[in-house]
């Protein structure tokens, strides 16, 4: 039988507003951590899908440039480990560089030729074999194995994801500690009410339930307020991000799980608050007579 009727005074009193506003801030922070973690996950999986099993061969500008490029393409096309090799058109290279160095400068640069290579087989031995063949055809050519670069970017991204996870853990701990101390203060405040409840035959569980229900309400209220604060903040970040060139900051479609996780933050805060309050009251009361 669940009822919102409470035997405790000050349901919306000072300590209640304190708990609710603290939960609001914590949920706001946790929500950004959840989004950061999701965004990082989407970026990593996008990169991996895009570049796994690919190489880029660069043939630097210089003497015999056209001949070297043609020879390299020929070697790659015939190599057993290579599925497909194609020259990246100059216009596309210009487009890639434009956001970084500007349109005018790009035109006159002695750019290397870029050859996109799709590997049939991308184990290190195959990559080494391709590398050897390319070097034989064009000694100054450089093979750019995306996996190495990607691995570094991905580990940076995973680091960010780890930070996000740590934020969530810390926020959870902060919430529990807040509730424990607020409940203890409240127990002192409500000492007379508790005494009366005991005299009329309330078990500790009943008293704990009263505090737990109050903590639940405060935390859910604070949690919803935190999300309400978070939504426009995320909107602003999204608008700013959309204005960045997609080559620098790829757009990410956050998965449904991310939005569900956000929606679960207020109830999760509520349940955590309820448990913390319940345990605190039971422990405090159990120490009496």
């Amino acid at each position: 039988m669940f009822t919102l009727r409470s035997d405790l005074p000050l349901r919306g009193g000072g300590s209640g507003r304190f708990v609710a506003s603290l939960v609001m801030v914590l949920v706001f922070i946790a929500a950004f951590a959840v989004t950061l973690s999701s965004y990082v996950g989407v970026l990593i999986s996008g990169w991996e899908r895009g570049v796994s099993g690919t190489l880029t061969v660069q043939v630097p500008a210089g003497e015999n440039f056209d001949a070297e490029v043609a020879k390299t393409l020929d070697v790659l096309a015939r190599h057993p480990a290579v599925a497909h090799a194609s020259l990246v058109p100059r216009a596309q290279v210009d487009a890639l560089l434009k956001p970084w160095i500007g349109e005018g400068a790009v035109k006159d640069l002695p750019l290397p030729a870029l050859i996109d290579v799709e590997m049939r087989d991308s184990d290190p031995a195959a990559v080494a074999a391709v590398d050897a063949s390319v070097k034989a055809a064009a000694p100054r050519a450089v093979i750019d194995e995306h996996r190495v670069g990607l691995a570094r970017v991905a580990s940076f991204a995973r680091g960010l994801g780890g930070v996000a996870a740590a934020i969530i853990v810390l926020v959870t701990a902060a919430l529990a500690v807040t509730i424990i101390f607020a409940t203890r203060a409240s127990l002192t405040e409500c000492a007379q009410v508790i005494e009366v409840l005991h005299v009329v035959g309330a078990k500790d569980g009943y008293v704990a339930g009263q505090f737990a229900r109050r903590a639940l309400l405060q935390a859910v209220t604070g949690g919803v307020a935190g999300l309400a604060l978070y939504a426009p903040a995320l909107g602003i970040v999204a608008v700013l991000a959309a204005r960045v060139d997609p080559e620098i900051l790829p757009p990410a479609h956050l998965p449904l799980a991310h939005w569900l996780a956000l929606a679960l933050l207020p109830p999760a805060a509520g349940v955590l608050a309820m448990l913390s309050a319940n345990i605190t009251v039971r422990r405090t009361l159990a120490a009496k007579i």
Partner: protein, 238 residues
């Protein structure tokens, strides 16, 4: 008053309460109660008298299980309370009704909710709570004050709410600590008649009081405490 459905007795009721060689001290101080032995029979009515500081409130708080004795044993309805778990004590308290001099009403609740508290705490169904509390408030003459908060009631009205709260569970034992201490004599008399009626319908009653007029007027035996030691006195003759 139509009593709420009586609770089924698990065992045959023996003595209402019995104390055996009980001593009580606070935080290692001297004993406020020493070698106290007494037995209260079911359906009895006692005054508890004695000068201030004699230990009346301490004795009552042992009886309503707010304190455990530092030595000796307290048996309530035949059950040893000395080593009982807190949960068990809570269940036992539901068969007691306690009235305080300072009423101890919860000011943030209406008179109705104050009286309903013991039933709600015991998980009684809302319909039964509504019926019993309404009847009881009528019985104490407060049917028009049910929705008022205690600060809006007079002292006498507050004490009647407190008595209603104490008896709403149909307690076997009613303990009152100076219940008439904060009201004038006419109201004190009226409150006493409520206790006498409750006694007539089967509750044991113990009233700690300083009020000599009441003790003289009502022919009930006295338990007299002096420096933490108990003596029994026969009923005053009037």
């Amino acid at each position: 008053m139509n009593p709420p459905t009586p609770q089924v007795e698990k065992k045959l009721p023996g003595d209402t309460i019995s104390l055996n060689q009980v001593g009580l001290r606070y935080d290692g101080g001297p004993e406020v109660l020493s070698d106290l032995s007494l037995t209260i029979a079911p359906g009895s009515f006692h005054f508890l008298t004695g000068p201030s500081g004699a230990g009346k409130t301490s004795l009552l708080s042992l009886m309503y299980l707010a304190k455990r004795p530092t030595r000796g044993r307290v048996l309530l309805f035949g059950e040893d309370t000395t080593a009982a778990k807190r949960t068990r004590l809570a269940i036992m308290r539901r068969r007691l009704g306690v009235v305080f001099q300072d009423f101890r009403l919860l000011d943030h609740m209406t008179a109705f909710d104050n009286v309903a508290l013991p039933l709600r705490v015991a998980g009684v169904a809302p319909g039964v709570v509504q019926r019993d509390v309404t009847e009881l408030l009528k019985w104490v003459g407060l049917e028009n004050e049910m929705d008022k908060h205690p600060p809006a009631l007079s002292g006498g009205q507050q004490q009647r709410v407190a008595i209603a709260r104490a008896v709403v569970n149909r307690p076997k034992l009613i303990l009152a600590d100076e219940p008439t201490g904060n009201v004038d004599d006419a109201i004190a008399l009226r409150l006493m008649t409520l206790f006498v009626e409750l006694h007539k319908i089967g509750s044991s009653v113990i009233i700690a009081t300083h009020n000599h007029a009441l003790v003289e007027r009502f022919p009930f035996p006295r338990l007299h405490l002096e420096d933490g030691v108990l003596t029994r006195m026969p009923a005053a003759r009037n």
